[in-house]
């Protein structure tokens, strides 16, 4: 079979593995709903009691709460399958609509973060490994070590203290200057201006992670036999580093990048709540205070699906990078 044909089957196979995982997460969601105090409708309506009694009754009928648990589960599955995640009275909006609305700011934040974290992480890790035991390596390693141990929210607050309050370079919160009614290019610049601090905050931890991984991975690859072969062939150290070692060293980092997306979504909850960035994380933070558990479950579901999709994408990229992958 041709390479592309193999990759196609590989993707299909991975997709088929992703579906049960998503299904399992939906079921888990259902049980979490049941775990919460009161019946599911109390949770669905939001514990603030902002739902009308009529709606509550309607919901109970809709979810068949008088029926046995397996039937309830089936009803829940059906609802999720038709993208009906319930209604948020706090926001006076369907949960699915609300989530989609807030998805884009989070996506913007995540994509810029991933690009910065992976890009600089690989670069710094490479520099540290090439200059092993020099001052460059020491500076990069110490930087990564400290950043790796710093809680995100604290970095965010310190950024605000230094760059917003004292220096006044960047706005403290939000995604754009609402009162200014910018349009077109001006609006893009405004959003970018707001994006700087949240992105730096969120990317620092992952930057540290990828730097450490890349450095370790490069050093491991430098110790492999094929490097000796490459030297014995008379290649330059530059060629050995950038062509032979780099490509092999990237493989585990790519895998890691996929794994870390889930964690990064968690990080965005914190960063968004620190900078009042109007994304899913901020929404989750708000729903915590409103005790709008149903909304929280919806966000949880979407972020899980997102992770499955990203993992799949990373897998496909990986199968192109590593010829050894068994795309049987």
């Amino acid at each position: 079979m041709s390479k592309s044909g193999k990759v196609f089957w590989h993707i299909l196979r991975r997709l088929s593995q992703g579906v049960p995982i998503i299904l399992a997460i939906v079921v888990l969601n259902f049980f979490l709903l049941n775990l919460a105090e009161g019946d599911a409708v109390d949770v669905l309506a939001g514990e603030a009691g902002s739902a009308t009694p009529e709606y509550m009754a309607e919901l109970r009928a809709k979810f068949g709460l008088d029926k046995p648990l397996p039937v309830q589960l089936l009803v829940y599955l059906k609802n999720v399958a038709s993208l009906d995640l319930g209604y948020s009275f706090r926001h006076d909006m369907a949960v699915s609509e609300l989530i989609i609305d807030r998805f884009w700011p989070t996506l913007l934040l995540m994509v810029t973060t991933i690009i910065i974290a992976i890009g600089f992480g690989i670069f710094l890790g490479l520099m540290a490994a090439v200059g092993l035991n020099t001052w460059k390596d020491s500076v990069i390693s110490v930087f990564a070590l400290i950043t790796y141990a710093t809680p995100l929210f604290w970095v965010g607050l310190m950024m605000i203290v230094v760059f917003s309050i004292h220096l006044g370079w960047f706005p403290t919160s939000g995604m754009e200057t609402v009162a200014a009614f910018y349009e077109g290019w001006d609006r893009v610049v405004d959003i970018a201006h707001h994006l700087v601090l949240p992105t730096i905050t969120l990317s620092l931890f992952y930057l540290a992670l990828y730097t450490r991984m890349m450095r370790a991975s490069m050093l491991e690859q430098y110790g492999q036999d094929y490097v000796v072969t490459a030297r014995a062939k008379g290649l330059t150290e530059r060629r050995i580093t950038f062509v032979h070692v780099l490509r092999n060293a990237l493989l585990p980092v790519v895998t890691m990048a996929g794994v870390q997306v889930g964690a990064m979504i968690g990080g965005s909850v914190i960063v968004e709540s620190v900078f009042a960035w109007p994304g899913l994380g901020m929404l989750a933070f708000e729903s915590l205070f409103a005790r709008d558990l149903n909304l929280l479950l919806g966000i949880f579901l979407l972020s899980s699906v997102l992770v499955v999709v990203v993992n799949l994408t990373v897998d496909v990229i990986y199968s192109f990078l590593d010829p050894r992958i068994e795309v049987s």
């Binding site: 979490l32 929210f153 604290w154 050093l219 889930g262 964690a263 909850v269 989750a284 949880f300």
Partner: protein
């Protein structure tokens, strides 16, 4: 043991990390002696600058002593970090050991479960669990355990997979030894080193998760913690920088120390690599 220590001590930053960690543990142990009062108690004039009004590290909006909060918070962080890690390692060992040792269908089922827990965004899941169970020290420990064990399970499974085909394990089969005994007495002791290393690093992660939860207002309302202090102080960031700054440094230093110790353990227990070219 001596040999272990001499290998550990070769990594100077690991020794430094151990020193800092001992100090933090010491601080947690004597917190109630030097700050006998409840850290939530109003101890004096609100928003005192560090050094003023008898507050070594200042006071917050309600006049609570930041230094006292940090000392008492150390107990919370270390306790939650350790308990959650032990629980996660325990669950992870069980899943990983059976999965790796028996393989086949057992492995398939256990690993699919692990995969689901690994796919779920861990911090969001932890938030959800604590929110549903109501914030308390138990719910926080449970949440951190639930999101942390899959990593250990993967690791232990990998170790078991490679060790179960080693000849010394086959030799045990040829004398008719039982599976349980092989798992517990023959294989497990041989994968303790990587478990200890991963476990020590997990304590650091658990402390970070705990502080994040407390920062979002999901801490146990009756227990002082670093994350709570920062969360409570953020509204006054403009006028009282110290309320957020010092607990943050406490987290940073503690987590850094644990990470350094973890790396030191790695060097001492897995003496390979570490050579440049």
């Amino acid at each position: 043991m001596n040999e272990f220590w001499s290998r550990y001590a070769r990594n100077r930053s690991a020794v430094m990390g151990l020193g800092i960690l001992v100090l933090v543990i010491f601080m947690a142990a004597i917190a109630s002696l030097i700050f006998p009062d409840d850290p939530f108690r109003l101890a004096g004039i609100p928003l005192s600058v560090p050094g003023a009004n008898g507050f070594f590290l200042g006071s917050d909006t309600l006049g609570r002593d930041v230094a006292s909060g940090i000392a008492h918070g150390a107990k919370t962080s270390l306790l939650i970090g350790l308990v959650a890690t032990f629980a996660a390692v325990f669950i992870g060992i069980i899943f990983g050991a059976f999965s790796g040792y028996y393989g086949g269908l057992v492995d398939d089922i256990l690993m699919r479960i692990t995969e689901i827990f690994q796919t779920i965004p861990s911090f969001v899941f932890a938030i959800l669990l604590v929110a549903i169970m109501k914030p308390s020290i138990e719910s926080i420990v449970i949440a951190i355990t639930v999101v942390s064990w899959p990593g250990v399970a993967r690791l232990v499974r990998g170790e078991f997979l490679s060790l179960k085909n080693r000849e010394f394990v086959q030799a045990c089969h040829t004398i008719g030894m039982s599976d349980m005994r092989i798992i517990v007495r023959e294989i497990l002791p041989n994968c303790l080193s990587p478990i200890i290393v991963v476990g020590s690093l997990m304590v650091a992660t658990a402390i970070l998760i705990e502080s994040g939860l407390a920062f979002l207002g999901l801490g146990d309302p009756n227990i002082m913690s670093w994350g709570f202090q920062i969360g409570a102080g953020r509204t006054m960031l403009r006028s009282a920088w110290w309320v957020c700054t010092f607990p943050g440094i406490a987290i940073l230093v503690t987590v850094l120390a644990i990470n350094l110790v973890g790396e030191g353990l790695n060097d001492a227990l897995n003496p390979r690599l570490r050579e440049g070219n």
